[in-house]
């Protein structure tokens, strides 16, 4: 870890001023990702701006039937908020599938969006990595890539975005509200994270001098037919190999609207709107679900140790859609099998 200076800000305006003016600086919220990265010398901010006292800690009604979540609401507070539990159980479930209770108690909603990849090479400053050192190379492509992307990767980077919460937010079509020197703007969730392309060093479309203030949830919560299914190496404290957020709106026996987002497979939460459309007006059958899976994975590509994820994702999509249709969401708390 390097030496750095520290400042605590009291208002969003002050935070934006600080981030815009300072030498290489980073906001710190829960610190669960930033501090780890600093310990590994991956992040070396000269200035750390503590935003934990900003008044962004509430969950409020939006007036359009949705909810507005402050960027500093903890993952735990969001997951157990009674309004989120009843109206957006998919979001609650996805959050509880992530990390561990201790981490969720510390982690903020804003920080969760900006957590960085868990690629082993990214974490090891002694190796090359295009995301860390643009243009240096990507050792993961021909190396150990069990946790890497199968969709939307580029020859420059095959890293994945590790968040669970974001997968649910993508499926729910949340909106990220940010503030910068020019004022406020809204970023649809779909456009918040980027694919690596030729610039894997840039994870998101948030500008360097902007701060996340809120996440808005639209009114539609899919509270009846949903699931968050996470497949991982152990039952807690492990990132998804593949995860699926599935949400259905039913009209009798037919699917009126479907949402499907995948985690652990791409540089961003992976949503395929064309594949979702295949389910509109259809019955929730294994055959229809398999067709969706095929569509989502049509361009999937493995890099060796992650080849298995293609078939795993196929299986996970079908199982998750079946869970959502049957109203038997995956439990994130009762992990026993009997």
């Amino acid at each position: 870890m390097n030496r750095f200076s520290y400042v605590r800000v009291a208002s969003v305006a002050e935070a934006v001023r600080e981030i815009a003016s300072a030498p290489p600086a980073r906001f710190i919220a829960g610190g669960t990702n930033l501090v780890d990265l600093m310990k590994y010398n991956v992040e070396r901010p000269e200035r750390v701006i503590d935003i934990t006292r900003l008044p962004l800690t509430a969950i409020e009604e939006t007036g359009e039937g949705g909810l507005r979540i402050g960027a500093l609401v903890t993952n735990t507070e969001a997951a157990y908020d009674p309004r989120i539990e009843s109206r957006y159980p998919l979001l609650s479930s996805a959050i509880l599938a992530g990390a561990s209770p201790q981490l969720r108690n510390a982690a903020s909603v804003g920080g969760n969006l900006l957590q960085r990849t868990r690629c082993y090479y990214f974490y090891d400053v002694a190796t090359l990595c295009n995301k860390r050192e643009p243009g240096s190379g990507c050792p993961a492509i021909d190396g150990i890539n069990r946790i890497h992307a199968i969709l939307g990767a580029s020859p420059h980077c095959i890293a994945t975005h590790p968040s669970d919460m974001c997968v649910a937010l993508a499926a729910l079509e949340a909106v990220v509200r940010v503030t910068g020197p020019q004022g406020e703007r809204n970023i649809p969730f779909q456009d918040f994270h980027r694919l690596p392309g030729g610039m894997p060093e840039i994870d998101t479309n948030l500008a360097r001098d902007e701060i996340i203030t809120y996440i808005d949830l639209p009114s539609k919560g899919f509270a009846q037919n949903y699931t968050y299914l996470k497949l991982r190496d152990r039952l807690s404290y492990a990132f998804a190999l593949v995860s699926v957020a599935a949400a259905l709106e039913m009209d009798g026996e037919q699917i009126k609207e479907a949402r499907l987002a995948l985690g652990g497979v791409a540089h961003k939460p992976w949503r395929d709107i064309a594949a979702e459309a295949l389910l509109r007006g259809r019955e929730p059958s294994a055959k229809n679900f398999a067709a969706v899976a095929s569509k989502v994975l049509a361009d999937a590509k493995g890099y060796g140790s992650n080849d298995f994820k293609i078939d795993l994702a196929r299986r996970a999509i079908v199982r998750a859609l079946s869970q959502a249709a049957a109203r038997t969401p995956q439990s994130q708390t009762d992990k026993r099998i009997t």
Binding site: N41, R118, G143, R234, L235, F308, L312, R319
Partner: protein
């Protein structure tokens, strides 16, 4: 009594709670790096980015300019200090003695500063220029060298063999041949590795978590060319070791040197990440098993060959063939062990070093054979059970393997198993059931102890053994309480300091047998003195009796007829307030200078196949796995193990050790692997996020059954080590259950969900 504190059966001690339980849960137990010292400086290691080559130059300028930096120890600074000695140290590499890089993450410098943060910041600024060579880090890599272990490594002395294997295998009606692989594993004790060193004149004190206080003292004294008496090593508690803290490491001398140069205490806590490369690991193996059998399951020919990875500079071998070739009554036996030398640091002991990988192969192969024969796997083991080990025909001091199978099978409800692979299912879950044998040689080593009994019944036990969390303090205290007729809460136990009389390394599961034998002997000497005083008194209640007819109970000496004399009265006869005895225990057949060697920190452990009779503890482990038929995740709802291991000193601590073993066994089967990048021979997963061990939710029901086993021949305490028994065989039981669930035989660990998707 409860699940955690099982009701003792015959020949089993009370489930006393750990003597240090309260201290540990309240944070009161002090570990080596917690010991407060004034004027402490902090050291941070700088390690190499390459696995093979030369350090052409190393630039400390920026590091030195960092505020707070006091000193940097690096190349050229070790003059007058010997390199570590392989054996007492895990490696003979003196990383700062020359500029050759032998492995990834090799120590290149120690940066010392006023604060830990300044040392960290400065360490990151050190820049090295390398002359890099292409490393070979894997079995398969070009450039490795393969040599026989026999003649090059400490083990095996001989490759065990018996009869004419080739002939018997050729003519066997049923043959099995299979290859198995186990991965690199890293110990990851929760307490990090650390060294704190300070000098008082010419005396050196080292606070360091170690499994061998006297071993570390002897080795450090040798490296500094000092009298061992001038070195003191302290480790009040050790937060897990599993072998990694057994041999010493090159770090200690470097930190001690920094402390000498600064004339100030220096503490270096190695980061989790650096522990993966500056400390040893469990070597990966490849193995080949060949078995010939009759149609009714009698094995007539058994061959076990192993290849183990080691470093370029040290030939470390575990040679588990020494155990596996003696596991059943095979007709004929052949075995061989080869070492594959690669650009990695030297491996070392890790909980049940030889047995875990080698028994995985044998117990998997037996399951394969059972399927080939259409035989129940338990029955196959019964048919091949034996009362003599097959290599030299020695009888066992005791062996209750099949009794373990019978009890575990019953508790597990094995008879409900339909042997057909893939035939059992519950909802979406495929069910698999598997079993395997656990075996561990009973070791014993010389040990010493000092015991003091006061007239008021207070007891002090002192022995420089190491409390790793196993419960050695507790059982040593129980032994003294029992022998001196006082309640357990009257006993205080001191360990963890070379100011105390020496005890052997906490390794090879020898501690309970060795330390308790020494405590027993010291207590017997105390009894002897008290008994003699009581019978020699002119008119006391026990006057004139035969000392052999006396016992101590409830604070008094008692005779068979009920005559008794209270301890204070006996002490009054002696004219003493306390009686203190020091005892040296040398195991049967141990060398006459065994205790002298112990004081020098040299190990003379015996047991297992050595001696007139073979000494082993056994167990049978049963595992139920569930595999999701849709998404293929693997779960373990049930682990059941039954164990026969001589006298059980304390059913609570014993169960805890064996339960931990079963959980680790399942972890080795499904979770753990240290990944090495083929291209660079560098470690990829270097923390507890990427090196998987199970969390609570992964472990459901774990049942431990402790059989009554009385063995007077194995050692005076009648105890067989159990610290390493529990995690032997579990990985095979898991793999066997996975086969039963799916019909897919996996011969390589760890077994993960990717093995069951397209």
């Amino acid at each position: 009594m409860s699940t955690a504190a099982p009701q003792p059966k015959a020949n089993q001690g009370q489930p006393e709670p750990r003597i240090d339980a309260r201290l540990k849960v309240t944070g009161g137990a002090r570990y080596a790096a917690d010991i407060p010292l004034s004027n402490l400086a902090y050291g941070v290691l700088v390690t190499s980015d390459i696995a093979r080559g030369q350090v052409r130059s190393i630039d400390f300028e920026a590091a030195k300019a960092t505020p707070g930096v006091l000193d940097i120890v690096s190349y050229g600074d070790m003059t007058g200090i010997e390199k570590p000695q392989f054996g007492s140290a895990y490696t003979s590499l003196g990383p700062l003695h020359d500029r050759t890089i032998w492995h990834d993450g090799q120590i290149m410098a120690l940066v010392v500063a006023d604060t830990f943060e300044a040392a960290q910041d400065a360490a990151r600024k050190v820049k090295a220029e390398y002359e890099e060579q292409h490393p070979s880090g894997h079995f398969g890599s070009a450039g490795t060298e393969t040599i026989p272990a026999k003649g090059h490594a400490q083990r095996p002395k001989e490759n065990p063999s018996a009869g004419d294997f080739d002939g018997a295998f050729q003519s066997a009606p049923v043959k099995l041949e299979a290859e198995y692989r186990t991965p690199t594993q890293t110990h990851n004790p929760i307490e990090l590795f650390s060294t704190t060193a300070y000098w008082t004149g010419k005396q050196l004190t080292i606070c360091e978590p170690t499994q061998s206080l006297y071993g570390l003292r002897g080795e450090i004294a040798r490296q500094f060319r000092m009298d061992p008496a001038d070195v003191r090593v302290i480790a009040p508690y050790v937060g897990g070791g599993f072998g990694s803290k057994g041999p010493s490491t090159p770090r200690t001398a470097i930190v001690a040197l920094a402390a000498r140069r600064l004339n100030r205490p220096v503490r270096c806590v190695v980061s989790r990440e650096q522990a993966y490369t500056t400390m040893p690991y469990r070597a990966p193996t490849r193995q080949r098993i060949r078995i010939g059998a009759t149609p009714d399951g009698k094995i007539t020919a058994f061959s076990h060959e192993g290849w183990e990875l080691t470093s370029r500079i040290d030939n470390y071998a575990v040679a588990g063939t020494e155990t596996t070739t003696r596991l059943y009554g095979y007709g004929s036996v052949a075995s061989d062990v080869q070492l594959v030398k690669a650009d990695r640091q030297t491996p070392a002991y890790m909980r049940s070093p030889p047995e875990v990988p080698y028994v995985f192969a044998v117990e998997s192969a037996l399951d394969e054979l059972a399927y080939k024969l259409g035989m129940d796997p338990v029955e196959l083991r019964r048919v091949n059970d034996t009362d003599r080990e097959p290599i030299h025909g020695k009888p066992f001091t005791s062996r209750h393997l099949m009794a373990c199978y019978d009890q575990a099978a019953q508790a597990f409800n094995w008879s409900a198993r339909n042997p057909k692979p893939g035939s059992m299912r519950h909802g979406d879950w495929l069910i698999g059931m598997g079993c395997a044998t656990a075996v561990y040689p009973t070791h014993i080593a010389p040990a010493t102890a000092r015991v003091r009994l006061r007239a008021d019944g207070d007891v002090l036990v002192q022995s420089a053994s190491q409390e790793l969390g196993t419960g050695i303090r507790t059982v040593a205290g129980q032994m003294a309480a029992e022998q001196l007729g006082v309640s357990f809460d009257k006993v205080k136990v001191e360990m963890g300091d070379t100011e105390l009389p020496p005890a052997p390394v906490s390794g090879g599961s020898n501690s309970t047998a060795s330390v308790c034998s020494a405590v027993l002997k010291a207590c017997q000497q105390i009894q002897e003195r008290l008994f003699r005083a009581a019978v020699a008194s002119n008119n006391g209640p026990l006057a004139g009796r035969n000392p052999a007819d006396l016992a101590i109970r409830n604070g008094a000496l008692v005779a068979k007829d009920g005559a008794a004399q209270k301890l204070p009265d006996v002490f009054a006869l002696l004219g003493a307030g306390a009686v203190e005895e020091y005892a040296e225990f040398i195991p049967d057949g141990g060398p006459h200078d065994a205790v002298q060697k112990l004081y020098q920190g040299k190990l003379t452990m015996t047991g297992g196949p050595e001696g007139k009779k073979a000494k082993y503890a056994y167990g049978a482990e049963f595992v139920e796995v569930r595999i999701n038929s849709r998404t293929r995740e693997i779960r373990i709802p049930r682990l059941v193990g039954a164990f026969a291991a001589g006298r059980i000193m304390n059913t609570r601590t014993a169960r805890s050790q064996l339960m931990g073993g079963l959980i680790w066994g399942m972890s080795a089967a499904l979770f753990e692997a240290t990944e090495i990048d083929e291209r660079t021979a560098r470690t990829i997963n270097r923390d507890l996020q990427d090196y998987f061990v199970p969390v609570n939710a992964d472990v459901q029901q774990v049942e431990v059954i402790l059989l009554t086993e009385v063995d007077h021949e194995v050692n005076p305490a009648g105890v067989k080590g159990i610290g390493e028994l529990g995690n032997v065989g579990t990985n095979a039981a898991v793999a066997n259950a996975v086969f039963h669930a799916t019909g897919k035989r996996l011969r390589q660990l760890p077994i993960r969900l990717e093995h069951f998707v397209a």
